[in-house]
Every structure is written in structure tokens, then in C-alpha cells.
Symmetry: C2
Subunit: 471 residues, 2 copies
């Protein structure tokens, strides 16, 4: 049973100096320091349980998100957790529709990232008090209660409360079997650990060779840092080639375990062609190659560029242009809220949908997107990586399979092997699959030691680095 009144909220700026090694670099984000605004909420209950929430950022600007979390704090403090989860839709709306704060969003950018961090902490607290991981809390929750967590504002033209209830009720059929299956086999993953533009050709070749040699069938801990695209996604054999006009639409072999590679493109065409050639030469003609332009292009530029890259037969092209461009979009997109996702679905502008556990408004808003995707029968392939995105999103996608989509066809969850060592309950990958977490909560809790060390600008790591960077 939920208990306690929220008595304290703290938020810290935690940054990892990933830019030093070129990790995470893409066409638009050339020097990211993977970072998080890290929220901890405490209650006056005697159990001492804390809720931890994060949102992912790229270094500079984390202090702005921290400032926004503090601006939201008064909506959380002194509330009974029982009242929050008893009217979670109302609470969500209170956070996102504050009469004054709404102006600096609404439901996008800094304020929405801050909202996600706060709500992620609330979900972690709730699940911990119930003694369940978040995915299990969701799977066991009555459909009516689930629906009461969702704010349907701006999406009722494609998904009403009744639609949502109907989908969830249908999802009850076969739920137990799917839960067993998840516990035994996990949810299929692909990884993007080192498609980064920051790596040299030699590093790329070396990591690619190693990935091909190793495959990805054993546990994460046996692997070195920063590896390239690790795959063997047995559950994913029938992913279709997309309808992007200049991409290959060759049928993919469906009878073998595939290696899947994702490469960042978009900064320089000649460079992209050389890198794609290296990879395609190494992986051969049959293995799957995905591309991600990270919003680099205009629409005509995307068409021209991809017509040149088409010969390397990409499966999909991710974020070819502005995330605000519904009409210019193609294939697959990360979005900032449910309204943008709704339109991409309405406009039939995407063939795969990428949810994000920290850019959308936590579990609540992701639930609405999972349900809309189900209604439109678009497979969800979550965005992950960063700091903690894998830890969080696994709960959502496992719930999606057990209670909503009931299908693994064309579905796969991104995995990046970075920074998991800073989490108290890190993801567990086995046989290229996310194994369902068993610890109570949302897997959001970081090790206190890591947080202290990486706090910006006063943690040990930054105290050493900053003077060096200034010289």
C-alpha cells in the first residue's frame, strides 16, 4: 500500500565526461557529456524508501533542467503519495499545466524534461513501496487504474479513454504466458554503442571486427566499453525495409540470426560514404545496417543524401530532419510529446515509433503513446542509451509486450553499453535481450558514490577536469 507525505525533493547536476573519448558524438551533437538531472524524493513514512528519477541531458544545460525541477517542486512537496497516484492524471496535468510555468513549455524542452525527472521519481517511489519493479506494477494494475494515469488532452481525436480501456482489456488475454516468456527470454535488444562520429576509421574497423567475432550472446559484463552495434536479434527477423523512397527495399533473410549495425551519418557525405563502405564491406551484404542523421538535414537534403547512401542498403533512416517537422518526416522519429506522435501516426509518416523514457512525461505519457501505436499497429522500437535510458525504458517495453502489443514482430529495443556501472540496479542483458528487472522500483537509483564524484562542478571528477579544460 502506498504511504507517506512527500517531505523532501532534491535535485543534482550529474555529468560524465564522455566527450573526452568521442563517445556519443553524432552530426548535431559533436561533444556530448552524458549527464542527468537526478531527482530524489523522500517521504515522512518510516520505511525510509526514496524515489529516484532522472532525465537525460548532454552536459551544458543540465543546470537549466535542475532549475526547472526546482520550479516544479512545490507541486510535489507536502502531497500524500496516496493522493498523487489516486488521481495521477490530475497530478500530471497539474505539473504540465501550471498556469505560469506552462508558458515556458508547454510540454516540451526544459520543462518537460524536468517533469519527466520528477515523475520518474514518483513512479520509482510508488513501485518500491509496492515491492515491485515498475513493469510488474503496470502489468498487475487494473486497466481502469492504468487509464486513470493518462492525460488524454489533445489526443482524443485518435484515442479516447474507452479506446484505451478496450486495448488494455484485450491485452489481458494471454498475459500470464507472455510474462513467463519475458522472464525466461527477455526482450530483444540491438545496440549502438559505437556508431559515433567521434571514432576514427581504425577504431570503427576494430570494434566492428570484434563485434562480428564476439556476437552478442553473453552477459553485458563480459564486454568491454564502447563496443560497436551488437546484435543477433533472433526475435527480429522480419523487420521490413522501410518506405523511404531511396532506401533499399530488398527482403531481409528471415531464417538466420542477424547482426544489426547502426551508423551515425549526416555531418559530411564523403565521410559517411567511406564509413558506410567500411562497415558494409566488413559485415557483408546480408546484415542489417541502420542510419541515424540526428536532425541534421533539410527535407531536400535528406532525399539527396539518402539517394547517395542507398547503395549501402539501410533498413531505416532515423531523424532525417527537425523533430518538429511532421510533414517532412520519414520512417522513424523520437518526439517530444504525445501530440507530435499522434500526428506522425495520423499522417502515416513513420513505420517504427521510438518512445523515450525521459523526453516524454514519464510512464504516464509513454502509456498514451504505446496505446496509440497499438491502435495504429505501428511497432515500437524504444530509444535508449544516454545515462539510464536503458534502465528506464526496459520497464515500458516489457509492459508493452505483456499487456498492450502482445507481439515481438518487427520490435527491438535499443541498447548502448555506457555508464550502467553507476546504477544500483543496472540492466541485465542476456542472449541479446533485456532480462526483466526484479528489484522493486524503476531502476533509476544511482550509486551515491557515483553521483558525488560526478556532480557538476564540484565533484571530484570535474574538480580535476575543469582547470585542465580552461588551460
Amino acid at each position: 500500500m502506498v504511504r507517506g507525505r512527500i517531505s523532501r525533493l532534491s535535485v543534482r547536476d550529474v555529468r560524465f565526461p564522455t566527450s573526452l573519448g568521442g563517445h556519443g558524438a553524432d552530426a548535431m551533437h559533436t561533444d556530448p557529456d552524458y549527464s542527468a538531472a537526478y531527482v530524489v524524493i523522500e517521504t515522512d513514512a518510516e520505511d525510509g524508501i526514496k524515489g529516484c528519477g532522472i532525465t537525460f541531458t548532454l552536459g551544458k544545460g543540465t543546470e537549466v533542467v535542475v532549475c526547472a525541477v526546482n520550479a516544479l517542486a512545490h507541486h510535489v512537496l507536502n502531497k500524500d503519495l496516496k493522493d498523487i497516484v489516486g488521481d495521477f492524471r490530475g497530478f500530471y496535468r497539474q505539473l504540465t499545466s501550471d498556469g505560469q510555468l506552462r508558458w515556458i513549455g508547454p510540454e516540451k524542452g526544459v520543462v518537460h524534461l524536468a517533469t519527466a525527472a520528477v515523475l520518474n521519481a514518483v513512479w520509482d517511489l510508488w513501485a518500491k513501496q509496492e515491492g515491485k519493479p515498475v513493469w510488474k506494477l503496470l502489468v498487475d494494475m487494473d486497466p481502469r487504474m492504468l487509464v486513470s494515469c493518462i492525460d488524454f488532452r489533445y489526443i482524443t481525436d485518435v484515442l479516447t479513454e474507452e479506446d484505451a480501456l478496450e486495448i488494455l482489456q484485450k491485452g489481458q488475454i494471454g498475459k500470464k504466458e507472455r510474462e513467463k516468456q519475458m522472464l525466461a527470454q527477455g526482450y530483444p535488444a540491438y545496440t549502438t554503442s559505437c556508431a559515433w562520429l567521434g571514432y576514427s576509421d581504425d577504431t570503427l574497423k576494430q570494434l566492428c571486427a570484434q563485434a562480428l567475432k564476439d556476437g552478442w550472446t553473453s552477459q553485458r559484463s563480459q564486454f568491454p566499453r564502447a563496443r560497436l552495434f551488437l546484435f543477433h536479434l533472433s526475435a527480429l527477423l522480419s523487420l521490413q525495409a522501410t518506405s523511404f523512397p531511396h532506401c533499399s527495399s530488398a527482403l531481409l533473410p528471415s531464417d538466420s540470426r542477424l547482426c544489426r549495425f547502426k551508423v551515425k551519418v549526416g555531418a559530411d557525405l564523403q565521410d559517411d560514404m567511406r564509413r558506410c563502405q567500411i562497415i558494409r564491406d566488413m559485415i557483408g551484404p546480408e546484415k542489417t545496417l541502420m542510419m541515424d542523421a540526428n536532425q541534421r538535414w533539410d527535407v531536400p537534403e535528406a532525399v539527396e543524401w539518402m539517394s547517395k547512401l542507398a547503395k549501402f542498403k539501410p533498413l531505416w533512416i532515423e531523424e532525417p530532419t527537425s523533430p518538429d517537422d511532421i510533414l517532412g518526416h520519414a520512417t522513424i522519429s523520437k518526439c517530444h510529446n504525445r501530440v507530435i506522435f499522434k500526428q506522425l501516426l495520423q499522417a502515416k509518416a513513420l513505420q517504427f515509433l521510438q518512445i523515450d523514457s525521459c523526453r516524454l512525461g514519464s510512464v504516464n505519457e509513454n502509456l498514451s503513446v504505446l496505446l496509440m501505436a497499438k491502435k495504429f499497429e505501428i511497432p515500437v522500437c524504444p530509444h535508449a542509451g544516454g545515462v539510464g535510458l536503458c534502465e528506464l525504458v526496459q520497464h515500458l517495453i516489457i509492459f508493452d509486450y505483456i499487456s498492450v502489443s502482445a507481439s515481438l514482430e518487427n520490435r527491438v529495443c535499443e541498447y548502448v553499453d555506457h555508464l550502467h556501472e553507476h546504477f544500483k540496479y543496472p540492466v541485465m542483458i542476456q542472449r541479446a535481450s533485456y532480462m526483466p528487472p526484479k528489484d522493486p522500483g524503476y531502476s533509476t537509483e544511482m550509486k551515491e558514490e557515483s553521483v558525488k564524484k560526478h556532480q557538476y562542478p564540484d565533484g571530484e571528477v570535474w574538480k580535476k577536469l575543469l582547470p585542465a579544460q580552461e588551460n
Copy 2:
């Protein structure tokens, strides 16, 4: 000639306690304290000229925007103004595409508001150094130089650099005459000073009666604060009824000076019907009534609600749903960047376009939107009000008439009679028109005394108010 290196950037949180009087309240923003993040930049030049920039906010959250301005400051400091304006597109892109900060936007919400404040200050500085108001700086600028201020990323599928140049070159024809006309007659305005939901029926009736009695043909200073919709928009007689399916499409009389009223709706249908009835009874069947729902509705709700309000014959319905909803939109919209405007134009989803001097990325991004509107032949009717929005946007719309649209047909600029007394160069309204400002700069400079008094939380005003609000 531009001169000097930016040697200092300061930013302050300035708030006016407008919520105390119910001013500015609408369906989504029930208790706004009109506020600004106020930026001042200084150079090492001996002239002592400072550039002032603002972005408009609603109270809480201003501190988050202030924090974002500080995060952007390093892009401005120690730059030569000559280098900034010499490659203004490059500088704009540097601000909006910072490899780390971009993640917490991009080009939307807090970061974009902060970008606007910084760039507004740069434009003010530039114009002051040239000894011209911003509108005149723009009007006199060579089309190639103008185009070099615009970032075309994400919009080249509807507007290329060549398109823009062609439009601006055509705009040279008759420019001198239009400039003379503006200086003599000004740009037509309408006002929304008190359509606010925060006012009682009695206040509404009283203000409405007074507005009808007074008309709006004399100078602003002769009018009391917080007046209702003041009109007599002689230049605007042929505005068409919109295509919103349930709105009146009766032809408007085109041979008389019209009173125009805008009413905020969307919080409570019965309440809206009563208020609209009061206004329509007072103004009679011929005068124009506009409605603004401030993003309150879902799409089906907007259709149902407006079918009930249709009998009051609104001219347009503003922001019926989420500003992110391209496909669900109707008629008129304020947007957060050029990419959203582009799509609304592509989707033929609006009949009037509202630019905003502080939500978009300053003059630079507004230029791109004005040019796209010209290409699609959609009339621009700027959003104004708030703190300083009128002061800024008048420069853009006067430039638009002289150098881009060359038309006043169906065009009008919003005016709200709030808080101008805090500005050093306040707007001048004559015969219901914005008279072109003559002082050098962007009219963004506030009176130092006002800033000091209203700084949050340490200014005199807040030192008195805050303890009272806590009790």
C-alpha cells in the same frame, strides 16, 4: 558602423504582479504575473551604448529562462559585434545548435525563449549603434544582407535563399512610398486589453460600454488601464470570416469603421456563452468578435464548443488546441519556431498567421516566417501584449509592410494597453495605429527604476508582496 567587443552580459528576472487584478487571465493561464527575462549587453566601445533584450514570461519559470540565458552567454561574450552581424546566420546557428544545449530544446521552450532575449539585445545594440530603429535598419538593409541573417535549415523545402532574395527584391518597388505612408498613418492595430477571463461580468460590461463610447482614435496616454478591446480599425474592413466549419461566414460590412472585440473562451462553456451574449448584445450584430481558446481544447471538443459559440459569429478562433498539433489546427496560431509555421502553411491549416517577437528566435527567425507567409500569401497579424511584445513586434510588422507584404489587406497588429510605462521608448498609438518608432534600437530598453522595483524576489514590489502571499 558597428563597433566594439561584447564585454558583459547581465540578465534579470523582472515580474509585474498582474495576477492580483485578474489581468491577462485566460483558459490555460489563470493567474499570470506578466514578466520578462531582461538581458543587457555591453561592449568595450567608448560610446557606452548598451543592447537590451527581453523575452516574455508569466511569472514562475522566469528564473529558469534566466538560467538558460546564462548558459548561452559564453556564445556572446568576447565576440566582436562586427563578427556577429557580419555572419548573423552563423551566429544564430551557433546559439541554436550548441552541441550540448541543443538537447534541451531544440529551438523550443526555455532555450528558445532565452535565445530570443539574447538576440533581441544584439539587434537593439546593432540598431542603436547605427542610430536607427530596428524597422528602419531592416528597411534600409540590402536584401543580400537581410537574407544572410536567416537560418534556412529545415525550411528549404518551401523557402530557399533564392526565393527569399526574390521576394525582398520585389519588395523594393514602392518601398519609399510605403515608408512615408507608415510614418504618416502608422500600422493598424486592434486591442485585447480586457477580454480576460479574470474579469467579472460587471467589469466586462463597464469596460465594453466605455470602449464603445470612447472609440479608439486618440493617443494611448488618454486611456485608462486595462480597457476592453479598443478598435476602429479602418484599415481592416475586409477581413474575411474564416473557414472554421462552425463559425459564421457572414460577409462583414466593408463601408464603415468597425469596432473589434476579442474574448477569451474555453474554461467553461456556459460561462463563455453568457459572456459572449453580453458582449454581442452590447456591440450589436455587425461589429467583429474574435475568440481565443489558448490551447484549451482537444480537436473534437473544439468542434463541439465552437458549434455552440458559432451563433455569436466569431471572426476567428485562436489556438483551439495544442500548439504542437499541426493537423488538428484551425485558422490562426502562435507557434514556437519556423518549422511549425512552415507546416501550418504547407497544410493550409491557417488563414491568418501570428508571429511573436519573443517566442521565435528574434528578428532572424521572424524574417523567415514573414517571407514564408508572403510566399503563401497568408496575412500576418502579430501576437502582442504581455510585457514589451508590442514594443518589439511593431518593428517587424512595419518592416513587413514596407519591404515584404506591401499590403494592409486583412492585416492588423494586436495591441494591449499594459505595462508600457516601464519602457524607455514605449509604443505610440494614434488613430488606432502603431506609429513607427523613431528612437534608435528595438524599443526593448526598460526604465532602470522599473527593473529595480520589480526584480524578483528582491525588488521593492516583491519584498512587500511575498510575505503577504505566504500568509
